[in-house]
Amino acid sequence: MLRTALRNVLAHKARLIMTALAVLLGVAFVSGTLVFADTTANAFRNASARSLQGVAVSVRADQASTAPDSAGGVAGKTTGALDTALVRKISRLPGVDAVRPTVHGQATLAGRDGRPVNADATGQNLATNYLPGKDGKDSHFPMKEGRGPASEDELALDSKTAAKAGYRIGDTVRLATDGPTLSKKLVGIVALDDPWGAAGGTLVLFDTRTAQKLFHHPGQFDEITVAARTGTDESSLTAQVQALLPKEGARATSGAELAAEQSAQIAESTGYLTKTLLVFAGIALFVGVFLIANTFTMLIAQRSREIALLRAIGASRRQVIRSVLIEAALLGLVASAGGFALGLGIATAMRPLLNTTGAELPEGPLVITPSAPLASLAVGVAITVLAAWLPSRKAAKIAPVAALTSVDLAPPARALRVRNVLGTLLAGAGVLVMLHVSTLKGTKESNLLAAMLGGVLTLGGVIVLAPLLSRPLITLAGKVTTRFFGVSGKLAKENALRNPRRTAATASALMIGLALITGLTVGAHSAQHAVAKEATAGLTADYKVNYSSARGLDADSVDKVARVPGVAAAAPITMAQLNTRGRSAVITGTDPKAFGKVARLDFRAGSLHDIGPGRIAVSDEFARRAGLQIGATLDAELGGGMAGSKAAKRKLTVVGIYAKAPTVDQALGTRADVLPYSVTKQFDNLLIKADRGRTGGVERAIRASLDDSPLLQVRSQEQLVKDNNEKVNTVLSMTYGLLGMAVVIAVLGVVNTLAMSVFDRTREIGMLRAIGLDRSGIRQMVRLESVVIALFGAVLGIGTGIFLAWAAGGLTRTSMREYETVLPWDRLGTFLVLALMTGVLAAIWPARRAARLNMLRSIQPS
């Protein structure tokens, strides 16, 4: 049977090529992911090993838990456990070669053009101390140009940061850590070979005293790393260091432990990426299953007489099944081997590709562990054999007597009843689960699992029901094709309807990809819509001014900004906790007059102008919950909630009730009433209305009127929405790319089905040619069948995708108050057009083959 199987594979090379390609692509995705994961993990490990080289012990100060301290230092960094005295003590321990005390912090730079560099990613704008050794140089930061910073007026940058900000040696660099804007002279540029500076951030180096002053206290550090002399035992040294530390506030870790910690972290983060990629690879393979199953079903139908002959001369059913499965396994093996080779290419290309999105993955040699090729081959073979299993059972059912009939009998159209019942149950269960999900709120794990289950059930149900659905939908499409393309259109419809299972399997492959793409697109679009609505609903302000750090704006800032030419109104916004009648709310404090110009509130009773000292307005929702009416006087507790702010009792009168709006909290009062009780005693932000027609250039003037700190953000509402949209679009494009493989395989499936169908219908096509259908008519017929199948898949996919997105969308409603399903018609239209074009493209080759068939050979009985 092995020989028969081998002969069959070789004899049907051309017909198996699409199937082999599908397996190859799926496996390439899997193996590419696996090799990429191993390679990246290895590169990260190497990089971390390099940075840990020579670190025998690391002492790190714990995060301080208390808020602002009396010493005037910056709030809540680390405990002061690591000081100069400790450094000295550690360096005197036997076996210690060198000690490196460091200070860490964050600093945001202003570029040469005055604009903040990388202001949004404050967590990655790092700063530390330059620590010159005996030779006056810091081996951690090899100097590329200039010298290390030596005084408070100097700093050094790493070369990437300097390039990004456009600074050269000798320039004055403006930056902010957390407080006021600082200006320092750039004296050195260092070359950085360290994963630390990666991930697209910036790095600033100060001399140790300055760093301590900015981020800590003089004489105190965040971390001390210890290098040991050769032959010193790391763990005993660690114990010795630990003994020197105070009981609380710091911890010593050996270099080995640190390395282990880091590799665990690396494994976790690359594991997450790998899992995500493997999910998409799995989708691609799943789509491939339809193609493989279709191919084997068609091959077996074409070969039924041959199989019947085998059975007639004594082959058992099992032998027939085995022969088909061996054929599948051989195909899977060859295709997977090719797939693995292609996967190596994908793995190599993945790093530069991801780096263009700002991932900055470290460089390293391609790492191929034995498990990657083994897993790839196993997956490829298993998928192919599994997909061929059902068709092989059909092959076994062919009766030996079929060998004796001279006419090709069309395979009897088996009843789809069982399938339809199963599909209805599956889809019904899926829809019920999704309807339940649509009532849920929040992205709890159980909710997500329910949504996933519902999604899989619904998709599965639609796949099983696809043959049933194909009749009405394709008949409908056929009406159009017949109307516009006459007999070719009619024949195309009939051909697409001829074998509902084949059509359904082909369309399902396309459906899966499109359902996911549509679902994600609808979700993302709705989220963008919600964000835009939340950001601008009721807001008429042109700009929002705030600091990107935790800092607020000073009380006098609002007057400064209000005096800027072109600014029509500036409303300060501050917030405080408000407790009354057993309810807890947030009160916004502002200047009611200015606020009326930057926001639109819909007052149910009273008005904005009624708000004054001791007089507040509340939202209708809060009024209902707390049982408040106009004129009600309440004993309120203002402030509190956060450490360091004390609550105070005030008597407040309700003078207005407004419709709940995303721009304001549950209550609205004057700045004077609220500001003293806010956490920072500062304004959170300013909302600014520009003079009509004066929006351009005002931004710079507003910056200039304040401290022009790199941390200061002056953003127009449009910009806010645009920034968010860009972020969502980036994620969406990446997902499109990842789902692209599944779509490509589905398109191969369409090509495959058409090519096989053309082969099946050779004599029909010959007859049509004989009775007068010309070549272009034949081509048109094949092309339209392809388009009809592709559109069928697209309609199913888009429909399912919209339903799933609608049902699961509710889960985000807790984080996005304004979320509602909004259909991106333009995108959905694009998907349909793309599906149509896919149909046309997929038909090119099969249609050409059909049109070029030798008519005489086709119509003559073989």
């Binding site: 007999v487 024949l491 051909n495 001829r498 004989a770 010309d774 070549r775």
Partner: protein, 259 residues
Amino acid sequence: MPLHVTAPTRLRAPSIAARATDLTKVYGAGETRVVALDSVTVEFGRGRFTAIMGPSGSGKSTLMHCMAGLDTISGGSARIGDTELSGLTDRQLTKLRREKIGFVFQSFNLLPTLNALENITLPLDIAGRKPDQEWLELIVGTVGLAGRLRHRPSQLSGGQQQRVAVARALAGRPEIVFADEPTGNLDSRSGAEVLGFLRDSVRELGRTVVMVTHDPVAASYADRVVFLADGSVTDELSAPTPEAVLDRMRLFDAKGRTS
């Protein structure tokens, strides 16, 4: 000899539906060169039922294919009515087949996806012509399919399927109908029915039919039998009976053996 054979036909049939003059068909080149038709001259009278007979490899199918515009010709001339086939492009040949020729094949004559009526009107659909309802009813009545027009081919017997094929060949009132072994796959009763309809279409509806067959009984339904051997017309017979056809065939066999 061929000239001598065709002369009486021309006298009896004032109008010619199709004519081959020195028609030659050569396959391959060099060592594999095969002359399938060697300068064949033959005419098919309008309103006549002509059978082409000959042993396997005699060139009878090739002659039909060339005359019907299914295959290109290597030399000589083939005409359908006034149209010369040699030199026509594929597109022109397709148009010619669509407009002037009807076909009945041995097997796989119908599209399984269309019902009987749709199959019958398929050539008209392809040509974008409206069927002539009266004519259609007449044909359908003649072939006895009135009750089965909504059936798919798979729901019809082999004989019924072939009757649908005959009806389809006649539906567009083609200049000439070519039938290639139309009874090859049928039992003798169904075969007799189909042949009867072909004959009726000539005698009662005035159509022109050319049928390729190797069955003397089938040939006996024709008005005239043309015999082919080794790519040449060797003989012909008018108002044939099965016995007469069989006798001529035996003669060829004998000749074939002695030569």
